[in-house]
């Protein structure tokens, strides 16, 4: 039987989107640190501006280094194309504003990264786009929250802070039955652990700042177009199915078929909102992606070690991770994230808020900061930092107990991470 010979994931992580530079022979992806590109002649210039020919014009819209990153992430996510943006937030914004206008409504998971909640709750309503939040396990709640003016369902693959596993196939079915696309923020999974497009999602966004880049050195975001949503059949997306006066009357769905969304996101979203990624950041993130499969495998192996250690420690009141049988979504995690449910671990300390603060201050190897997905182990005690103004009751409502510590498990030798946690746990119990 003939079988397709596609390049495999690890190979695509190294190669997708790039061939040795034709101008210089450079094997690594060159940093094209340029704002603009010389036209061959006036006809060529006119053709580029009219989308008669493809190519680079100005780095706010596209750049050769950034384009390699875009293509690589699209390849790893099995999409039809991608647009990189200045940050994960910029990518999320790009997805939303490409699809809808004032008066539109979003149904989103309530368990989102705090910054995304801010964008949806406080900022987008000023521009006429409102959101209803639904607990991520409440599939029926999503269905019921959909209104005639709803244009998007949005959720994270692993919720914050409960690490709820998103039932992508079920939610995709609900979205599609209502003629709506599903956008999944897959930052915590990366395409190594899960490919939402394969599971039915239509748009995937990443904060590439996190595991994709993987070294805590560059901000960036990517929006991947899965290419399966039929904008024309839905009839709810005039930005993609009607002539766009801002670009020579182009009807993106008619002109580009499955690539309509990504084409509009670039030619309008990047052009007009301008949240482009710098070529240097694209280069740094690409270096990270080259080793994504190796790093993610190690992140997961280390996470398994840490889970085992924490589970047996008397100063630890509880441990939350979908790979643990005690997690409510354990079975779903096994199905959708068979290589592991990410390297974020939450746990509770005996002794509450004060013990949490003592624990953080005692960590020597794990770095106390507000980020995740670094090569180095990171640790945060929300109750004494990001959420410090909240009362115990408010924290409970937000799903962030006073005693909760969040760990982003890094790539150090796992026994060193364990030793650091052990001594910090000991310190946390001295009052």
């Amino acid at each position: 039987m003939a079988d397709p010979k596609f390049l495999k994931f690890d190979t695509l992580s190294l190669h997708a989107g790039q061939r040795p530079d034709p101008a210089t022979g450079a094997r690594a992806v060159p940093i094209y640190q340029t704002t603009s590109y010389v036209f061959r002649d006036t006809e060529h210039a006119a053709a580029l501006f009219n989308l008669e020919r493809a190519g680079h014009i100005y780095s706010r819209i596209s750049n050769p280094t950034v384009a390699v990153l875009e293509e690589r992430v699209a390849a790893l996510e099995m999409g039809v194309g991608a647009v990189a943006a200045a940050s994960g937030h910029a990518a999320m914004h790009l997805g939303i504003v490409t699809l809808m206008e004032q008066g539109a409504h979003i149904v989103a998971s309530a368990s989102l990264y705090g910054g995304s909640v801010n964008l949806l709750t406080h900022t987008l309503p000023r521009f006429g786009i409102t959101t209803t939040f639904v607990k991520p396990r409440d599939l029926d709640g999503f269905r019921k929250a959909i209104r005639p003016e709803t244009r998007l369902i949005h959720a994270e693959i692993l919720g914050n802070p409960g690490l709820e596993v998103l039932d992508v196939p079920a939610l995709a079915e609900i979205a599609h039955a209502a003629g709506l696309p599903l956008m999944v923020d897959s930052t915590f999974a990366t395409p190594f652990l899960c490919r939402p497009v394969e599971l039915g999602a239509d748009i995937v966004i990443h904060s590439a700042t996190k595991w994709l880049g993987g070294h805590g050195i560059a901000l960036g975001g990517v929006m991947v177009d899965g290419g399966r949503f039929d904008w024309e059949a839905s009839g709810k997306f005039p930005t993609l199915t009607e002539p766009y006066a801002g670009y020579h009357g182009i009807d993106f769905a008619e002109e580009f078929g499955p690539q309509a969304l990504v084409m509009r996101a670039r030619s309008e979203g990047l052009r007009d909102f301008g949240a482009a990624m710098s070529p240097a950041n694209a280069f740094h993130i690409l270096q990270g992606i080259e080793t994504l499969p190796l790093r993610m495998a190690r992140h997961m192996a280390n996470t398994a070690r840490i889970l085992e250690f924490l589970g047996g420690h008397e100063a630890v009141a509880w441990v939350l991770h979908p790979d643990l049988p005690s997690h409510p979504d354990h079975a779903l995690a096994k199905r959708l994230l068979p290589k592991g449910a990410g390297s974020i671990v939450s746990f509770g300390l005996e002794g509450g808020r004060a013990a949490g603060a003592r624990f953080i201050e005692a960590c020597r190897l794990a770095s106390h900061l507000a980020n995740v997905g670094d090569a180095k182990t990171l640790v945060l005690h929300p109750a004494s930092t990001t959420h410090q103004q909240m009362t115990a009751a408010q924290l409970e409502e937000a799903g962030v107990g006073e005693d909760m510590v969040r760990l982003s498990v890094g790539l150090e030798d796992p026994s060193d991470i364990v030793e650091d946690l052990r001594q910090a746990l000991r310190a946390s119990q001295r009052s």
Partner: protein, 262 residues
């Protein structure tokens, strides 16, 4: 734009401008299981440079009503009825793969209707691998995978798309997935059965250009050159580092080649 052929609705993209039958026209004909969008990076240019453009969705494909036609000569005859419906006594035909066979058949049997001929990814015979045919007949996703694999050269498999940020393998596969059940099979079976290319080629009277991908595994350039030898006066443009999907893998070179004939 929409026209009616045989009482059925037919969609043709016009390159971003209203279609005007007065200037010389070009009809673009896609390959098996695809639609007009494969020509996105060629058609706008012609529409904005003095040509009337019709990038058709063949019956049962894209936005055109079905059913799909089931033979190459059937598509060729349909093309004459399409150009009738669009008010075109003559047109240049640019066909890709199955579309190239149909364009050739049309030019061979209706030479008075064809001003010029561009055959992309063409060969005298297009035998289809029996496993592919079987998968297509069963509407098995494997058929889309096999076509996507075999139709792309390194510039698809490794990437480096001319259009920034597009992953051609994904785009190609999603386009095939959009085809209605049975359509890819009908198309492939029509290609597989077609034996008339040499005879039609000999009867072509208009200027003809074959555009061939140097790394094309579906219609290898060797086969394409054989076909070219049988068309009186035909030229060959070989495009380096391209597989079968010339229009998306090497959009600029393909456009430059087409500019010399259309």
């Amino acid at each position: 734009m929409e026209v009616t052929v045989d009482g059925r609705r037919v969609f043709a993209a016009t390159g971003g401008r209203d279609f005007d039958p007065a200037p010389p026209a070009v009809v673009f004909i896609h390959g098996a299981g695809m639609d007009h969008t494969v020509w996105a990076l060629q058609t706008r240019f012609f529409a904005y440079h003095g040509r009337g453009v019709l990038a058709v969705d063949l019956p049962g494909h894209g936005r055109s009503e079905g059913p799909a036609l089931d033979s190459i000569s059937g598509i060729a005859d349909w093309l004459t009825r399409l150009t009738d419906a669009a008010g075109l006594p003559r047109a240049a035909l640019a066909g890709h793969s199955m579309g190239a066979l149909a364009a050739l058949d049309c030019a061979g049997r209706h030479p008075e209707r064809v001003r010029a001929l561009a055959l992309l990814g063409a060969a005298p015979r297009m035998p289809v691998h029996p496993d592919l045919l079987a998968a297509a007949e069963a509407d098995d996703h494997l058929a889309f995978d096999l076509v996507t694999d075999w139709a792309h050269g390194d510039s698809g498999h490794l990437g480096g798309a001319r259009a920034p940020g597009l992953w051609l393998m994904g785009g190609g596969e999603r386009l095939l997935e959009r085809a209605a059940p049975g359509v890819l099979y009908r198309d492939l079976a029509a290609c597989n059965a077609y034996q008339d290319a040499p005879e039609r080629a000999a009867a072509v009277t208009c200027p003809t250009l074959l555009v061939l991908g140097a790394d094309d595994r579906m219609t290898p350039p060797r086969a394409g050159r054989k076909l070219a030898e049988t068309v009186p006066g035909a030229r060959v443009e070989l495009i380096a580092d391209s597989g079968h999907m010339l229009m998306t893998e090497k959009p600029d070179q393909t456009l430059d080649a087409l500019k010399t004939i259309l």
